[in-house]
Structures are given as structure tokens and as C-alpha cells.
């Protein structure tokens, strides 16, 4: 099964040793956890030079392993109107390219934040964002549903987010540990 939006995997021309692999993956974990981690901090955390960190990150960005950096925002808290919906899309795949073409077509819309090919009852899982429910519903009806290979759409409006990208939306209760324990 193809995954159109995932990181590209290239055949490495350069032989990567396992030490590099370990460091590279650690950097990726750190950045995934905190995209704002500064290179100086990362260099401290891993015990390698800042230049090394810079070099590796630039390389990963160039190769498309790191595809972007995003802040996770609670727009409701920010007081900004924002409505999101998860659209289940059933698609007739194309003969030669399968799901890719239609997925890429849908992905082109700026209102579409996520497009994934999934297993199960429908084919594409699409996350759409708009200012109001009406905007989102109209977008799906006018832009997605009419597409040639789209057979069916079911729209689920996101009502409440509890956790996003590994981050809890509810402020966690103050740490229950004792302030000092020997």
C-alpha cells in the first residue's frame, strides 16, 4: 500500500554508520517533541558539536526527512474561530496510479490539512479546516464531493480535542510528587 504523504526513502549512496543513525534518530525525536529546540541545546543533550547538529538537520531537511515544523495551537483558547472536520472519502482508484492522483488532487487545496490513505471501509481520511461549519460543509460539497473519482464522502465535525500530536489539551493536574524525596 502506498503512502503518498510520508517521508521519501532514498537508496543511500553514502554508507551510513550506525553511530550516525543513532544520533540522527535522536535529533529527530527531539525535534518531533519540540520543534523549537535550539541547535545549541541539542548539541548539549547529545554531546556533539553544534556544527554537527546543524549539518545533520540541514541534511534531513534537504532530503525531505524533516518535512516541516508546526506549532500545536489550541485556537479556541486563542479566541480564533476554527472548525475542523474529518472527511471519510470513498474513491475509485485509477488504473495505473491507484489512489495517488486523486489523493494529490485533494491535497492541493489549502483547506485540506491532512490526507491519508487508510485501510477499512473507506479509502482516504481527509482533515479539513475552515472558519465555520458552513464553510467546511460547503467546501466538501463543492470542492471534494464533485471530483471525478470521488464516490462518497462522510463528514465528521471535530467537536472537542483532548490530545493532539502527543500533547494533552487539558492542563495536567499539578504534579502529585512530594517536593523533596531522598
Amino acid at each position: 500500500m502506498l503512502c503518498g504523504v510520508a517521508a521519501a526513502s532514498h537508496v543511500e549512496m553514502v554508507v551510513m554508520n550506525s553511530e550516525y543513525e543513532k544520533v540522527k534518530n535522536e535529533i529527530l525525536h527531539i525535534l518531533e517533541e519540540n520543534a523549537r529546540a535550539r541547535e545549541s541545546e541539542i548539541s548539549r543533550m547529545l554531546g556533539i558539536s553544534e556544527e554537527e547538529v546543524k549539518r545533520i538537520i540541514e541534511d534531513l531537511e534537504r532530503r525531505g526527512v524533516i518535512r516541516g515544523y508546526r506549532a500545536v495551537i489550541d485556537w479556541e483558547k486563542a479566541g480564533v474561530e476554527c472548525v475542523r472536520a474529518l472527511i471519510e472519502v470513498k474513491v475509485s482508484p485509477e488504473r495505473s496510479t491507484g489512489y495517488d492522483t486523486i489523493a494529490e488532487r485533494i491535497a492541493k487545496f489549502p483547506e485540506v490539512k491532512t490526507v491519508r490513505l487508510v485501510s477499512g471501509e473507506y479509502d482516504l481520511s481527509v482533515l479539513v479546516e475552515g472558519k465555520t461549519m458552513r464553510d467546511v460543509a460547503y467546501f466538501v460539497a463543492e470542492k471534494i464531493a464533485p471530483l471525478e473519482r470521488v464516490r462518497e464522502t462522510v463528514t465528521h465535525f471535530l467537536l472537542k480535542t483532548y490530545k493532539e500530536e502527543g500533547i494533552l489539551y487539558e492542563d495536567e493536574k499539578e504534579n502529585r510528587r512530594l517536593t523533596i524525596s531522598l
Binding site: H29, I30, E41, M45, R177, L178, T179, I180, S181, L182
Partner: protein, 395 residues
């Protein structure tokens, strides 16, 4: 008329308990506990919660009604899993039937280990700076604690000659705690070999508290019990899941060693604790099956370790590189303050908690213990507050 004299309850307290020095530090702890906006580098337990699968297993055990006693030794399946774990980690095999006992935390294991082998007047050697429980437990057992100082120049490793110099004909036990609380020091194989020579020559028993064994950041943890058959026989190996799996509140620990000693410990355990908490034992079994969460935790601690050590050094505090546990032990001598003064002032002025090193013995004077059991974000904040504090006082 007879006037009845009111007896002071103080007179009723046992002499041994009276001998435990009351720490003036208690008051400091209480104040810290009640302060707000405090960043605490004084917490000796993980900031992670026990893995969900472990908590789930515990909840399920409660649902199924596992609320009665288990065998005094601990659930056999758990002992088997412990035996596997110890073998994988140290290469030492212990028979789950009679060489392993599950206790209520390593704290209980240390206590009954001491009680099982100490006669009144026997001497127990502890390396300082030392975790606070060993001395009191020795005194409760009627033993005599003897300290050996370790030095930052040696990265707080126990030196064989220093050890030998403290041995008398009453010395019975050596308590080892590596990776070490409070210093974060570790012992390498050759260091342990030198200690083992002294141990064997003087016919000592070793109680090796290895609770931080999984938090070893350089090289692999080596247990003194793994050196040879002789040392395996002489060593009571203590370990648990509190620090590696964030299960401090579950109260699960274990001791392994020669069947004769373990059985002696069993005798005490069966009449006092009876058995470790049942649902906690079941949770522990689940924990031992989950290796991934430990790896992730260790990687996270390692990042924090590097951050805090380099951060402390940048501020101008000498800090040796701790290779185990989750403590940094920087020297604050350059500030001219005593450990307690430093800790107290830092708490009141910047609301940062550190534990003054002298709590862990005289060799800890001039140092502070900084636990990196909190997020990188909070560590950063703590470091900047400490820097402000030092700037204000020393420059």
C-alpha cells in the same frame, strides 16, 4: 495526697531510635513542600508515571479480585521473570525457587538484608556520600555504621585501599550503592574487582543496592555479584522497578543471593511484611515484560543529564560527569557558602529546591544534589534561576 508525676513519652522511645540523628533538614523540607512556584531539583523519583500497561494490569488484578496474600517469597511467576531480568542484565543466574525474594520496595530488602546478617556490635561499612537509609537501618539492627569517604577526584568511586583502612575484626558487611544516590557515580568492572579482593580477604558480605542499574549512561552496568562464584555467594543483590519503571509508589523490590541468606531474610519478611502488595506484584510482572518503555526513559534522562551538567558548568559550578542514576552532584565551594546555606538561600530567593550534600554524610559538604527528574523545560528554568542566584551572591 499523692501527686502523680507525668512521664515524658520521650523516655519510652528505644535507645536505638534515639540514636538516629534528627535531621535539621526536615524543617527545610517542610518549608519547600509548602512553597509555591517552586522548581524542585530535589525529587528522588521519576517524573514519569508507571507505563499504562502496568497500571492496566494492576487495575485488572483488582477487578478480578486478587486481594489476598501471596506466597511469602512473592508470586513464583514474578520471581521467574526477575531471575530472567537479572540474568539478562548482569549475567548472574538466581534460582527463582530459593534465591530470590520479592519485598516491599528495595527499602525493605535493604532493611531485612542487614537484619539477617548483623549481630549486635557488628560493623557495617558505607561509602559516603551515602543514601540516607543505610545508616539508620544498621543502627536499628544493633550494628555499628562505619563510613568510608569517596572523593570527587575519584568520581566518587569507592577506593579499595580506603575501604581496607576501615576494616576491623568486627566488620561484617559492606553496603555498595552504584549507580549512586546522591552522586550519580558508577563503578567499572576493574573498580569492583579491587573491592572484591578486599571483601574476600576479610570475609565480608556485600549488600549491593543496584536500584539505579538500568540508568547507566556509559558502558554497561556491572554487578559485583557477577565477578565470580565467590562474589555471587557473598553478595546480596538488591534491585527493583521503582526508578526504571516509575513504580515508586507500588512498593516492589527484590533481593537475590545465596539460598542460606535469602532464607534468613525470608524469616524476617514472613513475620513482618508477610508479602509484598499483591496487585503491585502483578503489575511488576507486567512491567518486566515491557522493555521498550525503559529504553525511552533512559534516552530522555540521558538528554537531561547532559543538559544539566553542561548547564551547571556554564554557570561556573564544578560538576563531575555522573554516569548513572538521575543526579548531578556539583560543588558549590566556589560560592563560599555551606551546602545548607546555599540550599536555603536558593530556596528563599529563587524558589529552587536542591538537596544540600551534607544530608548524605560529611563528604557531601560543599556539594548539592540536583535530580534531573523533571522536564528539560523546567531544568532550563532552574538553571537560569541558579545562575541569577550565583550572580547576585558571587560576582
Amino acid at each position: 495526697m499523692v501527686i502523680k508525676m507525668r512521664t515524658s513519652m520521650h523516655d519510652k522511645i528505644s535507645e536505638r531510635v534515639m540514636r538516629i540523628r534528627g535531621s535539621g533538614i526536615r524543617e527545610f523540607f517542610d518549608i519547600a513542600q509548602r512553597m509555591s512556584d517552586v522548581i524542585s531539583l530535589g525529587v528522588g523519583e521519576p517524573d514519569f508515571t508507571a507505563p499504562w500497561s502496568v497500571r492496566e494490569a494492576c487495575i485488572y488484578a483488582l477487578e478480578k479480585g486478587y486481594t489476598s496474600y501471596t506466597s511469602n517469597w512473592g508470586i513464583l511467576e514474578l520471581r521467574e521473570a526477575i531471575s530472567d531480568m537479572i540474568y539478562k542484565e548482569t549475567g548472574v543466574y538466581y534460582n527463582p525457587e530459593n534465591e530470590i525474594i520479592v519485598t516491599t520496595g528495595v527499602s525493605e530488602a535493604a532493611d531485612i538484608a542487614i537484619r539477617a546478617v548483623i549481630n549486635a556490635g557488628d560493623e557495617v561499612i558505607l561509602h559516603e556520600p551515602s543514601y540516607v537509609s543505610y545508616e539508620p537501618c544498621t543502627i536499628f539492627a544493633g550494628g555499628v555504621p562505619v563510613s568510608v569517604r569517596t572523593h570527587v577526584e575519584d568520581e566518587f568511586r569507592l577506593n579499595a585501599d580506603a575501604l581496607e583502612s576501615k576494616i576491623t575484626d568486627r566488620t561484617k558487611v559492606l553496603i555498595l550503592n552504584y549507580p549512586n544516590n546522591p552522586t550519580g557515580a558508577i563503578m567499572r568492572r576493574k573498580d569492583l574487582e579491587e573491592i572484591a579482593d578486599v571483601v574476600c580477604e576479610h570475609d565480608l558480605i556485600v549488600i549491593s543496592d543496584e536500584i539505579y542499574s538500568k540508568l547507566t549512561y556509559e558502558g554497561k552496568h556491572v554487578s559485583i555479584a557477577s565477578l565470580d562464584e565467590e562474589m555471587k555467594n557473598r553478595t546480596i543483590m538488591l534491585n527493583g522497578l521503582s526508578k526504571s519503571h516509575a513504580m515508586t509508589g507500588f512498593r516492589i523490590g527484590f533481593a537475590s543471593g545465596s539460598p542460606v541468606i535469602i532464607e534468613a531474610m525470608m524469616k524476617i519478611h514472613q513475620y513482618t511484611m508477610l508479602c509484598a502488595p499483591t496487585t503491585a506484584q502483578i503489575a511488576a510482572l507486567e512491567a518486566l515484560r515491557d522493555e521498550n518503555s525503559v529504553e525511552r526513559m533512559v534516552a530522555e534522562y540521558n538528554r537531561r543529564r547532559r543538559m544539566i551538567v553542561s548547564g551547571l558548568r556554564d554557570i561556573g559550578l564544578d560538576c563531575f560527569e555522573p554516569k548513572g542514576a538521575f543526579y548531578a552532584f556539583p560543588s558549590i565551594r566556589s560560592t563560599g557558602m555551606t551546602s545548607e546555606m546555599f540550599a536555603r538561600n536558593l530556596l528563599f530567593e529563587e524558589h529552587v529546591v536542591v538537596v544540600p550534600g551534607n544530608v548524605f554524610g560529611d563528604s557531601g559538604e560543599g556539594f548539592i544534589r540536583c535530580a534531573y527528574t523533571l522536564s528539560l523545560h523546567k531544568i532550563r528554568e532552574a538553571l537560569s534561576r541558579i545562575e541569577r542566584f550565583i550572580d547576585r551572591h558571587c560576582r
